[in-house]
Symmetry: none
Subunit: 196 residues, 2 copies
DNA sequence: CCTAATTTCCCCTTTTTATGTGATTGTATT
DNA sequence: AATACAATCACATAAAAAGGGGAAATTAGG
């Protein structure tokens, strides 16, 4: 029931990268919360007040502060430390992270790295309701095709009540209530193929 | 007045940067439409079919193809060519662009650079969806955004009856009755821009 | 074998949409 | 001046969907 929120700090000098990471990650998971920091100290001060689950840091900030970083890691072992690199970096620095995102990584790879790193301490990661069941997809396809609930019921040879139930479950699983949102979802997931 | 759509191609190896630029630019201006390409050739093929207003290119792709780039620029002088750099680059390459975005630039600076570069050729010759009136498009946008008739009425400060009338006219003009069909219509006509 | 997930069905009430038939302004176009 | 169209509002009825309850049968996985 209670979707666990994940707070992620991004400490990176680039607004573009910060925006990109947020936008990309929010698309796969809705329960991420982001905070942007312009330098390590700012983040550090914040974290004392309100602990984060993950810190995505540009190694640029660590170049001359490796011992400081080690201290931070020791002090907060439950935080996942992720590095985000634009170019080549020394292995000595990169090996200190729990995961490395390269700026050229695909969306899938980025969200996979984040998920894997967060999974370490996920107390409620059982809600893997990303995928719709076979029957739910049947309903979604007809729905997005413009069918009413009754038409869907007739085509699938089931009761209209069942269609309503499937729709309820689809909305719960995807978190999308509007039909237009579901249409965009279906296109993006390649469940339907509109020819533009 | 300033409602003309601007198509922007982003040719960059980084999904994160691409996402970041889109997210950042869409926040200030809603009428940008983005296409992402993984290399110059892919972009080039696309541009032959459908001209873009601006190309944001990583100089990485130009490193050994400067003459090719010059040819492209000569062939399509109306396109604004913007470079996006993560690190240091030779001035010889950078001077070929109409504008340079550095990855560390602020949001304000990025959108300023883009706006300035686009200002060169704002002719507003884009009446793709002249079937629908201005107000009908307002309604359609909110509709595919998931708003109910009442919500649309509140947002546009008109009566719900007017919204219903607009919707009737939209359905009559387009011949599309279902909301999902209208969503696909809006995407195909570039009235809305879902980021997949 | 047990459990979780899926698929199916039903009830209820309230809200929203669909459809038709109107009218009144204002603004262009002819 | 006449015409067309856009944008606004109204009333009425029937259909559909939304949202809230359940619950039984089947299937698949550990």
């Amino acid at each position: 029931m209670d979707k666990c929120k994940r707070t992620i700090a991004i400490i990176d000098p680039s607004n573009i990268v910060c925006e990109g990471l947020m936008s990309l990650l929010l698309r796969s998971e809705k329960h991420y919360f982001f905070y942007k920091f312009d330098d390590l100290d700012e983040f550090w001060k914040f974290n004392e007040r309100e602990n984060v689950d993950m810190a995505i840091i540009s190694p640029l900030f660590l170049q001359n502060r490796l011992t400081y970083f080690s201290k931070m890691k020791r002090q907060y072992p439950e935080i996942s430390w992720i590095g985000v690199v634009y170019s080549l970096f020394e292995d000595k620095i990169l090996s200190m992270f729990d995961g490395i995102i390269s700026i050229t990584d695909s969306k899938e790879r980025v969200s996979e790295i984040i998920k894997k790193a967060l999974k370490k301490q996920c107390s409620c990661n059982n809600n893997q309701h990303d995928d719709l069941s076979e029957r739910e997809i049947d309903v979604l396809v007809l729905l997005v095709d413009g069918c009413s609930n009754k038409e869907i019921a007739d085509k699938l040879c089931i009761s209209i009540h069942t269609v309503v139930t499937h729709r309820k479950n689809i909305s719960e699983k995807t978190g999308i209530k509007s039909l237009s949102g579901l249409t965009i979802y279906a296109i993006s997931k390649k469940i339907i193929n509109p020819i533009f």
